[in-house]
């Protein structure tokens, strides 16, 4: 249990002085960040910059979930991990880096493979969840758990030279299932290890996920209508924002009469899971 702060310590005023000067943040915004608990699922390409910036900006509690160890082929994009961390569990390596950046950030590590047996207990109590994972089954799992736990979900993805970003289950907007009620065919599923990704693409999207988390925490996000940001290095302009539907009353999980009221087997649902390297 963490006691809520109601004022900033003198050290914090010096450290975060540049943020306190931003009118939309100020002391109240900084306090909201310091009292916030954010869970980042995945400490890979997206989770790296997201965790580093959230910790640096002064988020009070950061939860990290990952079951993987650092591999050589991660290093071109997963900047929270150093060469020395190869073969170390990613959450351990990430914790080390975050402690170097901001020792006052409380980091809670979960070295587990998130599944329907542990998701609700692991995710309960967080104010915002960031989806920084790399497979469809885990994305449905996180979505459903967020709906059941009533937690806003910041969701990003990055493949090749493209990225996508949405906040689900927030302020009358859709959840992931409202948009994608049926999982895609197995042969369309792919992740970074098959299709590749330029290192800085998850950097861009991960930073934007951190920004969305801040917007949710400070309340600024409430002024926005549901939307999805698309990024592509190969289209001009690189960024475009598209308007999304509101929450669907007929949604199986967030709808008015949900048929899914507890977590299911998401690997079976998608026909492919977090450990399947190829489709």
């Amino acid at each position: 249990h963490v006691v809520k702060k109601d004022h900033l310590a003198p050290d914090d005023i010096r450290r975060y002085s540049r943020q306190l000067l931003v009118p939309e943040i100020g002391v109240q915004g900084q306090l909201k960040m310091q009292n916030a608990k954010v869970l980042i699922v995945g400490t890979g390409g997206l989770g790296s910059p997201c965790a580093m910036y959230l910790a640096s900006m002064g988020i009070g509690t950061l939860g990290l979930i990952d079951h993987d160890v650092v591999d050589n082929s991660n290093l071109h994009r997963q900047i929270i991990h150093t060469e020395a961390a190869r073969d170390v569990p990613k959450v351990v390596s990430a914790h080390t880096s975050l402690s170097r950046l901001n020792s006052s950030c409380r980091v809670v590590v979960h070295d587990v493979l998130l599944d329907s047996s542990n998701a609700l207990d692991t995710m309960r109590g967080y104010d915002v969840v960031v989806d920084a994972t790399d497979n469809a089954a885990t994305r449905y799992l996180i979505n459903d758990a967020c709906v059941m736990l009533k937690i806003p979900l910041v969701s990003g993805s990055a493949v090749r030279l493209d990225g996508q970003l949405t906040v689900y289950n927030y302020n009358g907007g859709p959840c992931y299932r409202c948009l994608f009620p049926t999982p895609p065919p197995v042969e369309t599923l792919s992740n970074c290890s098959e299709t590749g990704v330029l290192g800085v693409v998850p950097g861009i999207i991960g930073c934007l996920e951190a920004m969305e988390a801040v917007k949710v925490i400070t309340g600024k996000k409430q002024e926005e209508k549901p939307n999805m940001l698309l990024y592509s290095y190969t289209s001009q302009p690189h960024f475009r924002s598209i308007k999304l539907r509101p929450r669907k009353p007929s949604c199986a999980v967030c709808g008015d009469a949900p048929s899914i009221t507890e977590l299911v087997d998401y690997v079976a649902f998608c026909g492919s899971g977090p450990n399947d390297a190829a489709a």
Partner: protein
């Protein structure tokens, strides 16, 4: 009278199109019975004319496959009536495949 629409592919769908096109302008013939052209007809046209070789990666059951969002003039087609939306001349239809990587 035919209708011209701009179609665009994103999130990896461009890779399954002939020549990996991201964008194309397509002319849809008038319907035989004089009924308006729907976005479903645009989807079937794309499936039959633009997809390179695996139509099921774009379309199943006479609509887009699961995991594809359709945006009509930058708005979610769900708001517009989905498959039955009547396309207007010069409409922009964007097909987005959800991506899972990170």
């Amino acid at each position: 009278m035919s209708i011209t629409v701009d179609v665009e592919f994103s999130g990896g769908l461009e890779l399954i199109m002939k020549d990996k096109v991201r964008q194309a302008t397509v002319s849809l013939p008038a319907t035989a019975d004089g009924k308006p052209t729907t976005v479903r007809q645009v989807i079937l046209y794309v499936r039959d004319n633009l997809v390179a070789d695996k139509p099921q990666l774009f379309s199943t059951e006479n609509t887009v496959r699961p995991g594809v969002l359709v945006m009509i003039n930058d708005s979610d087609w769900e708001v517009e009536g989905e498959n039955d939306y009547q396309v207007q001349d010069k409409d922009k239809v964007l097909f987005i495949s959800t991506m899972h990587g990170g």
